[in-house]
Symmetry: C2
Subunit: 407 residues, 2 copies
């Protein structure tokens, strides 16, 4: 009845048997009367294999060529799915980024989509075709192949859904939806039937792996309804959508954790203007994203400055922090890699007092020391010792009764 964009990830197209399974799901949507546009990732493991080849070929692979290389993974899956669909008697055509076209900037390996043409796809849909589009890739204005960075196929799918004004963008993955927390960590985790864009965005940023943050940003911007589903079962699913004013707001929708954290502390920093700039400018210049920053209360005009970075950046961040520390007369730089970030997320926080207090109390009762805190309108994050990750997730899940509500 409508126009559906379906995206299948790498585990859903890991081999021909699974691609045939995808074909059956696509055909069902088609048979229900929909126009269907399918977006695929590469076979699970293939992108990593190609990246491995690139780094064997050169220490620092040329980025234009790197993108040309790793974009072949999606070209293989889309043409195979189109072959399977044609073989099953359904007209299907695959399209690459440059054929669609999916216009991007020239930031190879992490390009951003500027515009998606829809003419070719609409023409094919009119002919009754199932259209299969390679995710993760685009083309710059000079006809060079670009890729969108890890998880970019989610963004491809949402961008196509937005450009085509699709009725829904279905993201098929190896889990059957978005949960209140990671079911591998806490078996009381409950699947959410709906979640708002903002909550999903905070959850994705705070460590939930189910959707790439950029794809959620884009879905929010263009108000694309995103349905997260399992490619292996018809049960379940979570709808990511606009916040519904009519619905009662959940105080807390989910608990997330992120172990990819390292805490760096610059000790005994003179507390005067310009010190933070001297410390954080070099990090920005080296493209090292800093997540949380806290500064202790000043004592005798000296303070301690702590911040967190991704673990892969910790070596370089440490080096840069040491240089800055020397410059500004700090005593030393300390690194703690045994930390994790625990977050609670919920749009209801805005109107409910005491959520933060409840989080801190809950953790304190278990003897979990909070090392850093950061808050946004709909999220509270605490850095704790890594060994408490699971415990923190479970007690917060219980405290906010996330297993109990029916949404």
């Amino acid at each position: 009845m409508g126009l559906v964009v379906q995206k299948y990830g790498g585990t859903s197209v890991a081999n021909l048997e699974k691609i045939k399974n995808v074909a059956r799901k696509v055909i069902r949507a088609k048979e229900e009367g929909n126009d269907v546009v399918v977006v695929l990732s590469a076979m699970a493991g293939e992108t990593d294999r190609l990246i491995g080849l690139a780094f064997q070929a050169a220490e620092d692979p040329d980025r234009r060529e790197y993108d040309a290389l790793i974009s072949t993974g999606e070209q293989v899956t889309v043409s195979l799915l189109a072959i399977v669909l044609n073989g099953m008697g359904y007209r299907a055509r695959s399209f690459l980024g440059y054929q669609v076209k999916v216009h991007t900037d020239q930031a190879y390996t992490k390009a951003r989509i500027l515009k998606v043409d829809t003419r070719v796809i609409r023409e094919e849909l009119k002919k009754g075709s199932i259209v299969v589009v390679a995710g993760f890739q685009g083309v710059d204005m000079e006809n060079n192949i670009t890729t969108l960075g890890r998880g970019g196929s989610d963004t491809s799918a949402v961008a196509l859904a937005a450009a085509l004004r699709a009725d829904v963008c279905e993201i098929y993955t190896d889990v059957d939806g978005v949960y209140t927390t990671d079911p591998n960590v806490y078996d009381k985790a409950r699947r959410l039937k709906r979640i708002s864009y903002d909550e999903m965005l905070e959850m994705a940023r705070a460590g939930a792996k189910v959707l790439q943050p950029r794809s959620v940003e884009m879905a929010k911007k263009y108000e694309v309804p995103v349905y997260v589903k399992s490619s292996f079962t018809d049960e379940g699913g979570t709808l990511v959508t606009k916040e519904d004013k009519e619905m009662e707001r959940e105080v807390v929708s989910g608990v997330t954790y992120d172990r990819d954290q390292a805490k760096i502390t610059v000790v005994h920093v003179p507390d005067r203007p310009g010190i933070a700039a001297r410390l954080f400018t070099p990090l920005a210049e080296h493209n090292i994203p800093v997540d949380m920053i806290i500064q202790n209360a000043s004592m005798d005009n000296y303070t301690d400055l702590s911040f967190t970075v991704s673990r892969k950046d910790v070596k370089e961040a440490y080096r840069l922090a040491q240089e800055a520390a020397k410059d500004v007369g700090a005593t030393s730089v300390e690194v703690d890699e045994n930390v994790a970030k625990i977050s609670i997320i919920g749009v209801g926080m805005i109107s409910h007092a005491g959520v933060a207090a409840k989080m801190f109390t809950t953790l304190a009762k278990e003897g979990i020391n909070i090392m850093m805190i950061s808050t946004s309108e709909i999220k509270i994050s605490c850095v704790v010792q890594a060994k408490y990750t699971e415990l923190a997730v479970m007690v917060l899940h219980d405290a906010f009764e996330l297993d109990k509500r029916e949404d």
Copy 2:
């Protein structure tokens, strides 16, 4: 000094070590002052792997999608070589068929090149780049990926050399040139230093595997000098070039064999007009190329008609011949798959009498029965029992003293 097009086949780029070896050869040509355009095949075995996937995906894979799938092999090698070259400090850029553009017709899986644009390549060469082009692939007027059929990378290289007016097109392969016959069959085989386009073309058509016939046709048409060389040694090489009127013409330049032959005989056919058309039209309609045809002398208005086809086509050709035989009142159809075609090739045949006689006598002396004969200006082919293949090659090589001449 000039503009060189170098083509490397699948065995020359079979893995990263070999691609690095190719890079060193490319750099040497560049350092000698040349502009260098490199054309690559897919890694040895990769195209077959992709074809295998296509036929697992569907019994009769959609051809547009098949081409999109199998063209990924070359995309991997060209981007890897460009990464290696950039890593070694040489600016290099890879281009796919649609980026060049290599315009072809829409005959998927066996497309023909219509035109090759040179603007993008010339611009890159002007910037000092080494240009690396994916062989075997092109793009049709609707921006669909096409492929040129087996061995198509040779044709890509010659077409690029012609369009760019290159000084030479070097074809690097796993043998060090064109031989008077297959050295694996006869160790007296001698490498030719030069060979004319016409002789090369007949040799390629008659079973020599070193160059694809279409690439030789194109080289002849545009007078592109083609140098066949080994990618593993600097020794040797054969120049395929215009016939040099000054040079003494070789009577016979080479002996070839082709085991991919099957002989079909329609027995006791009424000898009246239109019978041959009734027999061969269905074969043409089913895209089955017929190589040699002979018709025995008519006896009592009946005759036997024999023809040869490639072994892969024998089943279907047999079926079609049986239908036709029934229609025209022939007695039966016989198939002989134990045949081979032996050919001698040489531009000197035109002006030397007695070459054919010498061939027939030589075979007769060994008791090798000739089942069919066909001749062109510079080639004589005989169909013999397959078991005599090696013997026929050796005695003809000796009879025409191919091991002795120095060219």
